[in-house]
Symmetry: C2
């Protein structure tokens, strides 16, 4: 029998992390009788503490902001000033200093909106503020992680459109591994891994979801989550958010709106996910264009598998063995390509 990737299980390599994912497309036939999630609720629009003018838990009042609004996280996982642990006495009991800061960034004054329902100009303001934050925090910190947890199923406690920014004195695991893998590839092939990768994908086309003048949204060959996507810049090889041109930033707003409209249209719900940015590490010793092995990219990691209420659980085998996916990345890309990227299901008459 001939190998058919949409039908026959195989493992795939993720060169960015040097790890593998198990692809078992035949599992899509499996019935589901397990836990279902509550469908994401309509965002509440009253009394939300992230709203413009609202009073937060600590008694502070938000200004009547009209675009984005950034403030320090009231319960930060990373603090700026803390005593440092002593140097390790044994190789199996190593700890190290961790300093940092955590911020919350509201995307919009209105608690009832989301990225796909915002205008291009409003999304562009979000991107501009991301760039500002990266510029400011990147001067001091080795890593600035911008991420958005969206939806209750992703542990997000507030439906107001917002993201978080955690900046740290250390390089976290995920970017550390990606930095190493991209460096090795660059040394070997004299070209950035993701530039090579995007070239291939633009030829092959079967994992592309959406494309405009500056950006491509695709389901990576090694995607782990059912409808995982990656945003990659086409031109100029930006290494960090701070390298983006005006035209790239505007184009990014457009593709974010389009991709998120598709996501919402897929299961007719406000699509939950965690998303975030990965680019070259920052800090006082870094300067623009110093990391040619890097290509800036965003990741969308959405948990839904079959419908608005059935998610993929990454549990026993995934935690102890390795990630396993049911539909193939090519099938996921095809499903997303079919969804409308212009008209959001809520705006359909």
């Amino acid at each position: 029998m001939a190998f058919n990737p949409t039908e026959h299980q195989h493992i795939r390599h993720n060169p960015l992390k040097d790890e593998w994912v198990l692809v078992s497309p035949h599992r899509c036939l499996r019935p589901w009788s397990g836990q279902t999630e509550a469908a994401e609720e309509e965002p509440q629009i009253f009394e939300n503490p992230l709203k413009a003018g609202a009073t937060r838990a600590n008694g502070q009042r938000n200004p009547n902001y009209t675009s984005t609004y950034v403030f320090p996280n009231d319960f930060p996982a990373l603090l700026e000033r803390v005593p440092e642990p002593p140097p390790p006495e044994h190789p199996l009991f190593q700890s190290a200093p961790a300093k940092g800061t955590c911020r919350v960034m509201c995307f919009h004054p209105d608690s009832g909106t989301t990225i796909p329902l915002m205008t291009i100009a409003e999304i562009k303001a979000v991107i501009d503020e991301w760039i500002n934050q990266m510029k400011e925090l990147g001067r001091k910190y080795t890593w600035v992680q911008i991420f958005e947890n969206k939806g209750a199923v992703m542990g997000c406690s507030n439906p107001h459109p917002h993201c978080q920014i955690w900046a740290s004195s250390f390089l976290p695991n995920e970017p550390r591994i990606k930095d190493r893998c991209q460096k090795e590839y660059f040394t070997k092939f004299k070209k950035p891994m993701l530039v090579d990768y995007l070239e291939q994908e633009l030829q092959k086309k079967d994992r592309i979801v959406l494309k405009n003048a500056e950006w491509v949204a695709l389901v990576p060959y090694w995607a782990v989550w059912p409808f995982e996507t990656m945003l990659l810049p086409i031109n100029g090889r930006p290494q960090r958010l701070t390298d983006l041109t005006e035209s790239q930033a505007t184009s990014l707003a457009e593709i974010m709106k389009g991709l998120n409209t598709k996501y919402d249209n897929l299961f007719k719900c406000s699509f939950p996910y965690s998303m975030g940015w990965h680019g070259a590490p920052t800090g006082p010793s870094k300067s623009p264009q110093d990391s040619p092995h890097w290509l800036l990219h965003a990741l969308y990691l959405p948990p839904l598998l079959r419908s608005a209420t059935v998610k993929k659980f990454m549990v026993g085998y995934e935690m102890l063995g390795q990630s396993q996916r049911d539909l193939t990345p090519e099938q996921a890309a095809a499903r997303l390509r079919e969804c409308d990227h212009e008209i959001h299901y809520k705006n359909k008459k």
Copy 2:
């Protein structure tokens, strides 16, 4: 100010995986207004397809088994015979053959029981069957992953006490990394990493949860999940489940009952988790005692953080940066030490 690990954030190294976890104990003060889980329900005892004598979805009837019962998974992620993908044509698009088999193993005929409510003899029967399965499947497959997903929050669709066994022709990511890290340590220090580690922990004592003649249950120094524990054998350096002596197997049944009783007593609920076994890789080329860098161990990875209904979400920062925990491993161990390991809350009068 002096560094206090229960108060001051730091990062800790996991030498088994060469990765780090962010420990932010001050976050325990954070109020929770996010998603809560339904408290785990009482296991249903009627019409459960895993029950002795029940008819499964595919029309097959279970025997009237009285102890453990193993059968092929009706929706396996791994099949034994499938066409193989062609050799990769590009370094960024690598896939490889994946063959294997998936089985389900019922622990007990009664859908209403769980490990902590079973007798030592009943749990011992589970362990004996694990050893049988490892023996049989390990002859053919490179990796045999025994794992239990317990509770709806862990994607477990059936409350009947059971585990799964996924055997594969490839070595999955997690054991591959652990194999490498333990080998490197062994080469450098001429001793198995986990033997050294356990010696240290038995002296330090602050992460030990439970101990008997043959086993120790402890919260690893680098634990990621709030109440994560590891079971380590004290004597004889077994590398695989198949190396266990009778006395080790019986002692294991005892510590499993004790640890799970503590877990259930912690939040007065049937404690959800994924658990599983890691030991030296298997397969036709392997023989007993050929992997001295390995020490067999079990992992319990439970998601609950604050109560029976509030779990830790491993989302944005954890997916894109690195794992982050709130209470320290030492605090978790102390909480678990305080819980009764003999009398289950359901059996208290």
